[in-house]
Amino acid sequence: MARRLPVFLLFCILLLSLASGCARVQPWQREDLSDPIMIFDENPIEKGIREHPLDYREGSSGGTGSQSGGCGCG
């Protein structure tokens, strides 16, 4: 647990800084966010293809996020 504490603290600090900047964007204002180039990991297969060899060449893993974003429609 002590090993994980500094990473967890960093997560909380970044989370709070994120929260302080959050704004209320209305559903009809999401045109730019709906653009595929604004979506995180719009193609998760492509991300996997790139990270697959990196796991073999570097000693780190994780913390790279997941597919998210978009217009939030539907």
């Binding site: 653009d35 998760p44 780190s60 790279t64 997941s66 974003g69 939030g72």
Partner: protein, 399 residues
């Protein structure tokens, strides 16, 4: 080759129903991918992925990947100081004492390893925009098998300005090299938390943290350590701790800079109880052309890592933990990435590629140039600099 066997488990945590943003409910994607480096490791890994809507709120996803690997370090067959190679493959005249890149006379016509990976999963939308998914992955090769289960939940708040993601992955691996009488297990469990936050109509950020516990046989049976004592040396199998706790936190932000372009910047911090600490920064610019019919992306990544506490360039005496694995050494790496996506409207005007121009289809291409430098030479290739490139061509159709 241990961590290559982890496969594309990160796919399993991508559960958002982004297809909901398009009109089509189903998607098929095929990719042909290759990795090539100057350590003479070549990997071809084609992938196939299908997502199919099977109910009002449920989607099925199936995936298949093949890793066809040639790696000189896996090819040698030897017996030195009572340590035998992990492979039973017969390669005449090659011993670990004489292995240097370029001197290996083994033929390169066949693969040293072929790994098959199958994945399947379901995801379901539930009240007010949430999504839950469960996935399984099975990977098999002649001396290794891996089973993985993953689950994730995403839930939006505040008119989807905030989305929380929670994921868990559990895997059970088994290593059973040809020339060993044992089989050894390796387990991993990962918990990840993420939050995606819309900052304003043109910017969105994501914060992600993951915690992984590995236990069991974490060594690589294909690597050997030479303990040099004066003018003599003895060969030993590598030995690393049988537990590893890995933690990472990352943040990235996407900005829409103009009506047709965006920039993404990100940072990740990692540390584990083997005392490896790393920092990664990345950035990517993407731009649409031809009325969004063609999209180009250029990106860069810079990575620095400290070494595992038990890693040494050479061991003057036998120690409890000894490794030669370059990825546990300190290093600095840089990556340049180019990506291209061509939609069907533009695809149909390009000779040869026009045969791929079905409705709602896209041609995808990726080129990654990678360089890693370690302070001491790699145990097998004897190089400090690794140069690699990844080339990928893909076709995606939504229907």
């Amino acid at each position: 080759m241990g961590d290559f066997r982890r496969g594309l488990a990160i796919w399993l945590l991508a559960s958002s129903s982004l297809l909901g943003q398009s009109e089509a409910d189903n998607e098929l994607q095929v990719n042909f991918n290759g990795y090539f480096d100057n350590f003479r490791v070549h990997i071809l890994y084609p992938t196939l992925s299908l997502t199919k809507k099977i109910g009002a709120s449920t989607r099925f996803n199936g995936r298949y990947l093949v890793d066809a690997i040639t790696a000189a370090s896996m090819r040698s067959r030897f017996e030195v100081d009572g340590v035998t190679s992990a492979t039973a493959r017969s390669v005449d005249g090659v011993t670990s004492a004489s292995q240097r890149a370029g001197e290996d006379s083994a033929p390169e016509a066949t693969w040293d390893e072929v790994r098959h990976e199958f994945g399947a999963g379901l995801s379901r939308d539930f009240g007010r925009g949430g999504t839950a998914s469960a996935n399984g992955l099975y990977s098999t090769e002649h001396d290794y098998s891996s089973k993985t289960l993953a689950g994730s939940v995403t839930y939006p708040f505040a008119k989807k300005n905030t989305v929380i993601q929670i994921g868990a992955v559990r895997s059970w691996d088994l290593s059973f090299p040809d020339t060993r009488t044992w089989s050894k297990a390796k387990d991993a469990a990962t918990l990840s938390f993420g939050i995606t936050q819309v900052l304003n109509p043109r910017a969105v950020a994501q914060l992600d943290a993951s915690f992984t516990s590995n236990k069991g046989f974490l060594s690589d049976p294909y690597q050997v350590v030479r303990v040099i004592d004066g003018y003599s040396f003895r060969t030993y199998n590598t030995a690393v701790p049988d537990r590893r706790f890995r933690n990472a936190v990352g943040m990235r932000v996407n900005f829409k800079t103009t009506s047709t372009s965006s920039i993404q910047v990100g940072y990740r911090y990692y540390r584990d109880d083997w005392k490896i600490e790393s920092n990664t920064v990345h950035a990517m610019v993407q731009r649409h052309f031809l009325d969004k019919g063609l999209t180009l992306g250029i990106g860069g990544r810079h990575y620095t890592q400290s070494k595992a506490y038990f890693f040494k360039p050479s061991y003057p005496s036998v120690e409890e933990f000894m490794t030669v694995d370059s990825k546990l050494n300190s290093c600095v790496s840089d990556e340049l990435q180019f990506k291209l996506e061509i939609q069907s409207d533009v695809l149909k005007t390009i000779p040869i590629l026009s045969i791929l121009a079905a409705d709602n289809s896209a041609f995808l291409a990726d080129l990654d140039l990678y360089h890693r430098r370690t302070p001491t030479p790699d145990w097998f290739s004897r190089y400090r600099d690794l140069y690699a490139y990844i080339l990928s061509f893909g076709w995606r159709v939504r229907f």
